[in-house]
């Protein structure tokens, strides 16, 4: 794993993921569950939970990196635009640093919504190589 290494993946915010998130975490805020409420707040439809994206980040760390010997040490994410059901997100992550002293690597990542090409979120990850 070297600085500059880039990883890409596409994630669809499927009804299975949305309903699974609702069922597990029970966040039924009307922004996420009532179209009329979301419309009144200026959104075209119910807004997907932002933390679904953190699940995708977890998949990246656990499944897409070339080693399974990993553990998230620190994670930051900033949300820039809403995501709606059935949107497909293009995820990319680039290794931005390596810290040999503590066996850790840093990634910068972002999600782009393929529906409208808007940046959905970006963030940073510090991952320990255990």
């Amino acid at each position: 794993m070297q600085v500059g290494d880039k990883y890409q993946h596409e994630f669809e915010v499927s009804s299975e993921i949305y309903n699974g998130f609702l069922g597990i975490f029970n966040d039924r805020n009307p922004l996420h569950t009532e179209k009329s409420f979301a419309n009144a707040k200026g959104f075209k439809d119910v807004v997907m939970h932002g933390n679904i994206l953190n699940g995708f980040v977890s998949y990246f760390v656990g499944e897409l990196l070339p080693t399974k010997d990993v553990m998230i040490i620190q994670q930051e994410i900033k949300f820039h635009s809403p995501v709606f059901l059935a949107d497909t997100l293009s995820f990319s992550a680039t290794q931005s640093a390596i810290f040999e002293s503590v066996n850790a690597v840093e990634f910068k990542f972002e999600f782009i919504n393929k529906t409208d090409n808007r940046k959905v979120a970006k963030g940073k990850l510090l991952i320990g190589l255990i």
């Binding site: 040490i73 620190q74 810290f99 040999e100 002293s101 503590v102 840093e106 510090l126 320990g128």
Partner: protein
Amino acid sequence: MDILKDVNTIFIDVLENDDLVITRETTSADVEEWDSLNHIQLVVSIEKHFKLKFSANEIRNWKNVGEMCDAIALKLSA
């Protein structure tokens, strides 16, 4: 440059303890939040702040904050 003062600021930020005051004699046993995962974040923040890199061997034998500061000073003077 007051390295200890800068390191103290980093400790406050990483450990999220605004009241924390460290000295050269401070060890991880003295600071509740200074656990193994926070130690990684501390070292990463120190390397970024001072724009230097340590090896695993270089940090392995740090016994307290003073030895950490001495290692930083040595790197900066190199």
